[in-house]
């Protein structure tokens, strides 16, 4: 069928569908019924007023998804997910929002306090009713001030930087979105990415024009708008020739969500001489001590270093979620392009993480660095899984991989699964791996100097993670250190 015909058909289907399916008649409705079907996909697209090409893309993804099977190669154990038992658009609130901070779980507030999060931000994070709409009170506190956010926005506009939600970008810059969406992670890529392509609701869009160095961490701005991140996020960042951007996703504060399943997709495109630094702090609810109620986090993050001398650096601190399945990767296409992956993954109690990276060397003299620090406590299982692939034309490619695991207690596990494939004889690949336990000697030494046992553990673990934490933007590094401590509470003694 010709493309135009197909589109006409789809438009007809969509308009006629209104009569065929009850809920379609009420386009103002804020929610779609439970379950996943073509109609739900159409509903989402229609709600967002998307162009036909995007609906078509979503539908192709959905149809492809139906033919796929959930991957089972991760070292993860969880009960089967019932995809029909979930809401894919605007899930109704199950319980009422707390009216004030007094009604919020004191445990949660304690954690916020330890992280040093300002009161107003605590209210937003805890989902206190109306908290996000409150007028800004403290103008000096960067994170708190709407006026500061506005200033930022103006500054970005002056530079020609586009930074908005992807829904907004689809309306305002459809040509850019269409040019790049799905070019790094195709809709057929993998089970979870394909699901995301069909039903993604929102996410961020960034475009840095040629030669522009983004004057600020996009984190500060993002964080203010982070209260409704959603279940199926889709983020697209394009750094045009010679540009630079540092982007920070997530939040150190523990985040609860009524949706157990999260499947985000992040695509990064770096053109000639462009650099993207992408930092993540993931602290979704890990579940209780028995792992009950935690988030399942299946994320596809991939960067295309398309241009010569382009560079993408992923830094992640993963402390949350019951299940983490995540491999931020770099396709090193441009000659002399550089990929980096710095990761700290902490699992405690019943948490399971299967995380790592893929470095695909295509261009000449491409270089990649992988530094992974896995910390496992309680009954948790922590797996590093990484692929380094050198293709035949990647003359002079180099990779350095360092995987360190730290065990706390004797009921947890650490696993390292490196895959190395080299098709070019000039490539140099180095892999180092260590596994250690926090020794009784170290703990006693610290305690003899006056540190309480938990503070000693936190100090030792922070030391262990130092190489990665120092890659984080300054403003986040301090919080991340505290987060490391909090994640391991109750892991000793």
């Amino acid at each position: 069928m010709a493309a135009t015909e197909q589109t006409i058909d789809q438009v007809r289907e969509l308009t006629e569908g209104k009569y065929k399916y009850g809920f379609f008649t009420d386009i103002e409705s804020e929610m779609a019924p439970k379950g996943l079907s073509e109609d739900i996909v159409r509903f989402i697209s229609a709600k967002k007023g998307e162009p036909d090409w995007l609906l078509d893309w979503r539908l192709r993804a959905y149809r492809h998804w139906l033919t796929m099977a959930e991957p089972d190669w991760g070292k993860l154990h969880y009960p089967p997910i019932d995809y029909q038992d979930a809401y894919y658009y605007a899930a109704p609130k199950v319980k009422e929002k707390p009216k004030s901070l007094d009604e919020v779980d004191p445990e949660l507030l304690k954690t916020y306090e330890k992280l040093g999060i300002p009161l107003k931000e605590q209210a937003i994070l805890a989902g206190v009713e109306g908290a996000g709409d409150m007028p800004a009170v403290a103008v000096d506190a960067v994170f708190d001030s709407v006026s500061v956010a506005t200033t930022f926005k103006k500054k970005l506009e002056e530079k020609g930087i586009i930074f908005c939600s992807i829904s907004e970008a689809i309306q305002t810059h459809p040509e850019l979105v269409r040019q790049y969406l799905g070019t790094v992670v195709p809709y057929s890529d993998n089970y979870f990415a394909t699901l995301n392509s069909a039903v993604f609701t929102d996410g961020s869009f960034v475009y840095i024009p040629k030669g522009v160095r983004c004057p600020m961490e996009l984190s500060t701005y993002f964080r203010i708008n982070a209260k409704n991140t959603g279940q199926f996020e889709r983020t697209l960042i394009i750094a045009d020739e010679g540009s630079y951007v540092s982007y920070l996703e997530g939040c150190t504060a523990p985040q609860r969500d009524e949706n157990q399943l999260h499947a985000a997709v992040v695509e990064l495109v770096a053109l000639n001489d462009a650099t993207i630094k992408y930092s993540t702090v993931q602290n979704w609810y890990p579940g209780d001590e028995n792992g009950k109620g935690g988030i399942y986090n299946f994320v596809t993050k991939r960067a295309a270093c398309r241009g010569k001398n382009s560079k993408v650096s992923w830094t992640q601190v993963e402390t949350g979620s019951a299940i983490t399945w995540k491999y931020p990767s770099c396709i090193l296409q441009g000659d002399n392009s550089v990929g980096e992956f710095y990761s700290v993954a902490i699992t405690n109690n019943m948490q399971q993480a299967d995380t790592g990276t893929k470095m695909i060397h295509i261009g000449k003299n491409t270089r990649s660095t992988i530094v992974s620090k896995g910390i496992s406590a309680g009954k948790a299982q922590n797996t590093y899984r990484g692929l380094v692939r050198i293709l035949p034309k990647a003359e002079g490619a180099r990779n350095y991989t360092q995987c360190d695991s730290l065990l706390i207690g004797d009921k947890c596990g650490a696993h390292t699964v490196p895959y190395i494939e080299s098709k070019n004889r000039s490539a140099r690949i180095e892999h180092e791996a260590t596994t250690a336990k926090i020794s009784e000697d170290q703990l006693f030494y610290c305690r003899q100097r006056g540190l309480a046992e938990e503070d000693a553990v936190s100090l030792i673990v922070n030391g262990f993670c130092k190489e990665v934490l120092k890659e984080l933007p300054m403003e986040f590094a301090v919080e991340a250190q505290k987060l490391v401590a909090i994640s391991l509470e109750g892991s000793v003694g």
Partner: protein, 252 residues
């Protein structure tokens, strides 16, 4: 009132009794040395006083600065003013000396109800103390004991002691692994901390260290008990005669 009073202290490791009734009293301002053959219980005594796991006190009491020392956690003992200079200082990769000591000092200050030092105040303090021990800025920035030579590790222990200003410093075989120059630097650092408010317990196998840190009282520990107590001349006597008179298990 004595600074520390140890009465009839019995302690076991893995069910084996090592200390078999130690009686020892040290007043503020005094430096005591404990000498003894290998396996006599010298290091066990230092670990028991510092509260290490696995060292079980089966009888006796220890009163330190008026409190029941044995009831305290190791970190509480540190806050109360007890410091142990380790025979084998432990490495902590990725944690700088400065960070480690700042955290430790502020934890102790917090327990004592004193305000924490900020980064600048602390840096000033540690730099001054490091200078006294001929330690460079580079050394205090390095990770705790990582890549340090034997002598540097012991100097680092002396630095920690100088920063934490304990009431009682226990020096466990501080001379082991030191050449004569390193020994002198460390001893000078320790001597600089001698004061009427502070006591020291110097544990050593050899008399050599006591040429540099001259004790007021010398005890001989063998078979889990203090066998003899005397002045600094006792150390010289032991150096000449060895521990044979105490039925030493030296050969073991």
């Amino acid at each position: 009132m004595p600074l520390i009073e140890i009465k009839n202290l019995h302690a076991s490791v893995d069910g084996k009794e090592i200390l078999k009734g130690i009686d020892l009293t040290i007043d503020a301002g005094e430096v005591h040395a404990i000498m003894g053959p290998n396996g006599s219980g010298k290091s066990t005594l230092s670990y028991v006083l510092a509260g290490r796991d696995g060292y079980e006190v089966t009888d006796g009491s220890v009163t330190f600065a008026g409190v029941d020392l044995l009831a305290l956690e190791p970190e509480e003992r540190a806050a109360a003013g007890l410091f142990l200079a380790f025979q084998y200082p432990v490495e902590i990769p990725g944690v700088s000396n400065t960070t480690f000591l700042k955290e430790a000092l502020n934890a102790i200050r917090k327990t004592r109800g004193e305000p924490a030092l900020d980064a600048m105040q602390f840096l000033k303090l540690i730099r001054a103390k490091a200078k006294d021990l001929s330690m460079t800025d580079e050394m205090i920035k390095r990770a705790v004991n990582v890549g340090f030579s034997g002598g540097e590790k012991k100097r680092n222990e002396a630095l920690q002691m100088a920063v934490l200003q304990p009431k009682l410093a226990i020096l466990d075989e501080t001379d082991s692994g030191l050449d004569i120059d390193a020994l002198r630097i460390v001893a000078e650092g320790v001597n600089a901390l001698r004061s009427p408010e502070r006591a020291m317990l110097v544990i050593t196998h050899y008399q050599r260290l006591l040429d540099y840190i001259v004790p007021d009282v010398v005890h001989v520990l063998a078979h889990g008990r203090i066998q003899r107590t005397g002045g600094k001349e006792l150390a010289l006597e032991l150096e000449a005669k060895g521990y044979a008179e105490f039925g030493a298990d030296e050969a073991a």
